[in-house]
């Protein structure tokens, strides 16, 4: 490793050369940070696409839901598909509703509770898909600079060892080692900065989407409780 700094005095200092001259630890750090960066951007692209799709789907479903179409019909068309988001919540609630009435449920309060719970479970599952992998963005955003710093410290240690070895403090001896060490911090920052920005943006977006789902669930729960009251009242009156 001592040779690295010495050799650098004469060798070129392009990015590739710097990387190749770096010690094994620094090299590993750099590679890891490159991987983190790739992963960050993969998540960013994925989230961007999926959040856009979810928002569009929410809009579509709300349009259909409030169009005055019969909920039974809507359920029948949606039940056969793979549902996500609002439609998934709707389908879960409707399924519970159907099951309860087919078996002749007596208690309107019990039915209401069961429907709410079914919707909550579905909502939790859906939110999980929205917020999934945002945690890794946060981790990369906070840890990448430190990892890069670690690489830098190791690299500078190496270049100081090179100084000790060459018994010369000539800038030409020291500079390449330090440049190579600083490259690790640079890559760490390159990975961390987009990760932090993306994490903030996507967690806010996920929050918005879950709030929308919650709002829909509450509204639908209200509609269903009115329906339950209307359907159970005549029965109780008849008895």
């Amino acid at each position: 490793m001592e040779d690295v700094g010495l050799a650098a005095a004469t060798h070129d200092v392009s990015l590739w050369a710097l990387f190749m001259q770096a010690g094994i630890i620094v090299k590993l750090v750099m590679l890891g940070l490159m991987g983190a960066s790739v992963w960050t951007w993969a998540i960013v692209i994925d989230k961007y696409v999926s959040f856009g799709k979810a928002r569009r789907q929410f809009d579509q479903f709300e349009q259909v839901f409030w169009s005055g179409q019969s909920l039974e019909e809507l359920y029948r068309t949606l039940a056969e598909r793979q549902n996500t988001g609002l439609s998934a919540i709707f389908v879960a609630a409707m399924r519970e509703w159907k099951k309860s009435f087919e078996r002749g449920a007596r208690s309107p309060i019990g039915l209401q509770m069961r429907i709410d719970r079914a919707m909550d479970v579905t909502m939790a599952r859906e939110s999980e898909t929205f917020e999934g992998r945002l945690g890794s963005l946060a981790t990369i955003g906070s840890a990448a600079p430190f990892i890069g710093l670690f690489g830098t410290v190791v690299g500078i240690m190496t270049s100081f060892q090179a100084i000790a070895g060459s018994k010369s403090t000539n800038l030409a001896v020291v500079a390449p080692g330090i440049a190579e060490a600083l490259l690790a911090t640079a890559i760490g920052l390159v990975a961390a900065i987009p990760a932090v920005i993306a994490y903030n943006k996507f967690s806010a977006d996920a929050g918005k989407l879950s709030a929308r789902m919650e709002g829909f669930a509450d509204e639908f729960s209200g509609i269903l409780s009115r329906q339950i009251d209307e359907k159970l009242q005549p029965r109780q009156a008849a008895q």
Partner: protein, 373 residues
């Protein structure tokens, strides 16, 4: 997710590839060859210290004042010049008085030639005033007057007066070319002598009988009168200034120099600060006269600062200022008092070099009494 991961990878490779291509080897810093500047460290004394010389003369190895002509009279003179007394004032130019002398002299000689009329006027003025015989007689007269006033006075006065009048009248018509200066001295002498003779002869008996001293006084006065009368011809009111100016111009020092003038200051100034040994000598002189009372409470850490103004003999001008810092109040006051007494007792300070007076005209000395116990 796979799709986005792939996209991310592709983007990264593109970005890296671009970075590797565009951010290749950075241009190396080419340091232009700059000639090294030699740096000398010059002591500031060479600038602040000036050697005696001439401000207008060219620079030379050693500074020297303008060469003087007279032999050295005054020992250890400081200021260069031809003077007999070492004066600090710069020499006044010698040419001016010469000019006035020249200007004063021709006035007389010139005047008589072209203007006989003015001559006569001047003569008239001179004769009555200075025809010394009169004053001498008059001088003698007042003494004698009360005693033998009637006898001598009428005789001498009429005699010279007509003569003088004749003398005055004569030159007027005489001739123009005759220089006025020559005749003037002669006739008054002649006039004076006859005037004296009758004055002496006639009162001889009474004067001799009365007062011999009067004669002597009169004689002396006559002599002075003669001498003044002999000079009277030269005398002119304007001439006084010329006479005064005849004296050598004052100013300039008494230090002689034989070398050719070279660039330098008015006087040699040595280093502007006292050397350590000189400072120690001054300090020691004060310390010797300082009786510090041992065992003053709170005297630890008292620092006494004495600042005084000295004149060139080393005597203290005014009252030295003594300030003390640190320690207790009483200790400070006691030590301040003793320091002041010590300073006053040790004055005048004789060991200080006179040429460095600028440096010790105001001296500040610090003392740590705890070191002196």
């Amino acid at each position: 997710m796979k799709g986005s991961l792939g996209t991310s990878l592709v983007l990264h490779t593109v970005a890296l590839g671009f970075a590797l291509v565009s951010l290749g080897t950075p241009a190396s810093f080419d340091v232009a060859d700059v000639e090294a500047l030699p740096v000398d460290i010059i002591p500031v004394e060479s600038i602040t210290q000036i050697q005696q010389g001439d401000k207008k003369a060219p620079l030379a190895e050693t500074a020297a004042p303008v060469p003087t002509t007279k032999p050295n009279i005054v020992q250890d003179a400081e200021n260069a010049g031809d003077n007999e007394v070492d004066l600090k004032a710069p020499p006044t130019p010698v040419q001016r008085p010469i000019e006035t002398e020249v200007a004063a002299a021709p006035e007389k000689t010139d005047n008589p030639l072209p203007n006989p009329t003015t001559e006569t006027n001047t003569i008239k003025e001179i004769v009555p005033e200075e025809t010394a015989p009169k004053p001498t007689e008059v001088a003698a007269l007042p003494e004698t007057k009360p005693e033998i006033a009637p006898e001598p006075t009428p005789e001498p006065t009429p005699e010279p007066a007509p003569e003088a009048a004749v003398a005055e009248e004569l030159p007027l018509p005489d001739t123009i070319p005759v220089p006025a200066a020559r005749p003037r001295p002669e006739p008054p002498k002649e006039q004076a002598k006859p005037a004296e003779k009758p004055a002496e002869k006639k009162p001889e008996t009474p004067k001799a009988a009365e007062k011999p001293s009067d004669k002597k006084v009169a004689d002396k006065k006559q002599e002075t009168a003669k001498s003044t009368s002999s000079k009277d011809s030269d005398f002119n009111a304007d001439e006084i200034a010329a006479l005064l100016n005849k004296q050598e111009a004052s100013g300039g020092g008494a230090k002689r120099s034989t070398e050719t003038a070279a660039l330098g200051g008015k006087k040699t100034t040595s280093g502007s600060s006292l050397s350590q040994s000189e400072m120690d000598a001054l300090r020691g002189q004060i310390q010797n006269n300082w009786s510090i009372i041992a065992g003053i409470e709170g005297a630890d850490g008292v620092i006494i600062t004495v600042s005084m103004k000295l004149d060139e003999t080393g005597a203290i001008i005014g009252r030295p200022e003594v300030t003390a810092t640190g320690g207790s109040d009483t200790a400070r006051r006691t030590l301040e008092g003793s320091a002041l007494r010590a300073v006053m007792r040790s004055a005048p300070f004789k060991n200080l070099p006179v040429e460095k007076y600028d440096a010790w005209s105001e001296v500040v000395v610090n003392f740590d009494p705890s070191e002196m116990l």
